[in-house]
């Protein structure tokens, strides 16, 4: 801001007065605090005991415990106190924690495989979408392609379809191809959804790289592919990274396809989390623990992406 020049006009809208600023700041901070409270409540619930989590009135101050996290990662069976007394002393702190509730750890829960599915499907589809998207975006950006606008619209329109409606024929097709409830099936599906975003975003990023660099490289005797690899890609690396994070976030968060097309083997976290149940309904501390672990990477990515967020959510239409 070239503030010095404008500040001389006392009540210019361009540079707000200190009082207006303080007022605006106060309201925004109030909104931010209210908006973040639900998230903080979930993070706190993860550290509550089962009874604190469902206490009335809701507890703000409580004794923190890792029970929620232990419950998330284990399957437990209830035993009689006599039986527990006869057992050899607990080997680990979490064994001890569970025994205090008259329970014994029977084995690991399904959360780790689900988390691994989320990672494999997320990274797999992101890699494929960004790879295909970079090639297509480069072609759309640099070459005259017949019906380019129609093709681009077609690519975007596939993302506009309601996922439940798309899932009906996919379900039938995957049944024929034995792709139901497989990671490969989910990777292909998420790639198809993500590739539309990748093409649109990357086309914007590549459009911004001056053609002169490549032209110079071509004159110097590079082939097109060499120029792409050695000149364009290094310039587009930030854009590619931002696009990749957007794709990853989509696959990570996706629910509709996951819940309709997977049931076990390839199930990801979003359809799994609501069904973490304890004795008598949802095990809220464990659900909150899973939610916290699930959301932390997203929060980090949001901070990383801050500069490119606007582009990503508008398919590259608004660039700031």
């Amino acid at each position: 801001m070239t503030a010095a020049a404008t500040r001389s006009t006392a009540h210019s809208i361009v540079e707000a007065s200190p009082r207006t600023k303080a007022f605006a700041g106060g309201l925004v901070i109030l909104y931010a605090v209210i908006t973040i409270l639900p998230l903080l409540w979930i993070v706190a619930t993860a550290f509550k005991s089962q009874s604190d989590a469902i206490a009335y009135p809701p507890k703000v101050i409580f004794e923190p415990t890792l029970e929620g996290y232990v419950n998330l990662f284990t399957v437990r069976t209830r035993q009689t106190p006599d039986f527990i007394a006869k057992l050899p002393p607990p080997e680990t702190w979490y064994d001890q924690l569970v025994r205090k509730r008259d329970m014994v750890i029977a084995g690991p829960s399904k959360v780790v495989p689900r988390f691994v599915n989320s990672l494999i499907i997320g990274f797999g589809s992101t890699f494929l979408a960004v790879f295909l998207g970079t090639l297509a975006a480069y072609a759309f950006s640099r070459f005259r392609i017949p019906l380019a606008d129609d093709l681009l619209f077609f690519i975007l329109s596939t993302r506009m379809m309601p996922p439940v409606a798309v899932a009906i024929p996919i379900y039938l097709m995957y049944r024929q191809l034995n792709l139901t409830d497989t990671r490969l099936g989910m990777i292909l599906l998420y790639t198809a959804v993500n590739v539309s975003l990748a093409v649109w975003l990357l086309k914007g990023f590549i459009d911004e790289i001056p053609r002169e660099y490549e032209e110079a490289a071509l004159v110097d005797g590079y082939t097109r592919l060499q120029a792409l690899r050695k000149v364009v890609l290094p310039q587009a690396v930030t854009g590619i990274a931002a696009t990749a994070i957007f794709c990853l976030i989509f696959s990570w968060n996706e629910y509709a396809f996951a819940v309709l097309l997977t049931s076990g083997e390839a199930q990801t976290m979003p359809p799994f989390i609501p069904f973490i149940i304890g004795e008598g309904g949802q095990d809220w501390p464990a659900v909150a623990a899973a939610t916290t672990l699930f959301v932390v990477p997203i929060v980090m990515f949001t901070v990383l992406l801050r500069k490119h967020l606007l582009r990503g959510i508008t398919f590259g239409a608004v660039r700031k």
């Binding site: 361009v14 409540w41 009335y56 097709m173 060499q226 700031k320």
Partner: protein
């Protein structure tokens, strides 16, 4: 790379003239047309396989009475019966009405909150960037996970939401249920959706506000236009294209809404929050009426496709600015 050398066009590297280098480019490696085709084809092929082929299959199924729970029955073509049934079904119209109400009220609320926030943040107070990032967090989360944890927050007895309301209004916290009451549930999904997506409108509006050059305001100052006047004649009209973009995108997304509402109320109580997508999921994946739900899906496709068309046109208009 394979180099096809042709004696006529043999050029000495480094000393090629512009005219010659163009020839050289065609000779070395693949031609531009081949590359363009090779680069675009895989994406188009994937979309044809995963989107278009199934879509065509679904169009075929929409003319049949296929029911997957009775798939031993031979495939019977029923012509336009499914479409006729849907358009004559009062329930479907009721779901569409519920969806329209949800879309209109949530988008309207998001525009008010989002635009308001953008105006405030545009005052550039200290630390605005940090607080903006905090405000943006909800829209990055998984809608399903959001819907799930809001059910805890909105539990009549143990949830903090009712408790806070009772602190301010004195209404006993267990006397109302945000997700379980016919009068409140439609507003609950609007509330949670706004919590999640008002930041989206805010971010786009903020870009709109920042695109307005300072000198316009300075000119208005010289003309002694009041702040109110400046808002109505400069700020609002110049932000409208951005606002339109946000509204269209949100409207399309909310028309498709499934995940968040499915976990928050799963269409209930009764069917007060049963949006079209939830209804479609029940027909297709619980009642297994594949023929019927294919027809309904096609009707939704056509609707969204029409809206998407307008959307892309608006995108291009905004881009040209």
């Amino acid at each position: 790379m394979t180099t096809i050398s042709q004696p006529d066009h043999a050029t000495m590297p480094g000393v090629s003239t512009p005219a010659k280098s163009r020839d050289a480019r065609r000779v070395r490696g693949l031609s531009d047309r081949t590359i363009a085709w090779l680069f675009v084809a895989p994406t188009i092929a994937l979309l044809l396989a995963i989107n278009i082929f199934p879509l065509i299959w679904m169009i075929r199924l929409s003319f049949t009475s296929l029911n997957l729970s009775m798939s031993y029955l031979p495939l019977r073509f029923v012509g336009l019966d499914n479409f006729r049934d849907i358009l004559n079904d009062e329930d479907v119209w009721f779901r569409l009405q519920t969806t329209a109400q949800f879309v209109i009220s949530s988008v309207a609320l998001q525009v008010v909150v989002g635009f308001g926030l953008a105006l405030l943040i545009n005052r550039q107070f200290r630390g605005h960037s940090f607080w903006t990032t905090i405000i943006l967090l909800p829209m990055m989360l998984s809608p399903a996970v959001v819907g799930n944890f809001w059910t805890l927050l909105l539990q009549p007895q143990i949830g903090p939401f009712n408790y806070l309301i009772s602190l301010f209004t004195g209404v006993p916290p267990s006397s109302f249920s945000m997700t379980g009451q016919v009068s409140l549930a439609p507003w609950t999904i609007v509330l949670v959706d706004t919590w999640m997506w008002a930041p989206y409108v805010m971010l786009i509006c903020l870009a709109g506000l920042r695109s307005i050059p300072d000198y316009i305001y300075e000119a208005a100052e010289v003309d002694r236009a009041s702040a109110w006047r400046q808002f109505w004649s400069i700020t609002l009209p110049m932000t409208v294209p951005f606002l339109m973009l946000a509204v269209l995108f949100r409207a399309i997304e909310n028309f498709k809404m499934f995940d968040m509402v499915n976990l928050l109320t799963s269409g209930g109580p009764g069917s007060t929050t049963e949006l079209v997508s939830i209804s479609l999921k029940r027909a297709a994946f619980e009642k297994w009426r594949t023929g019927y739900s294919s027809a309904l899906a096609i009707i939704l496709f056509v609707t969204v496709f029409g809206a998407a068309n307008i959307y892309v046109k608006t995108l291009n208009k905004v881009k040209q600015r």
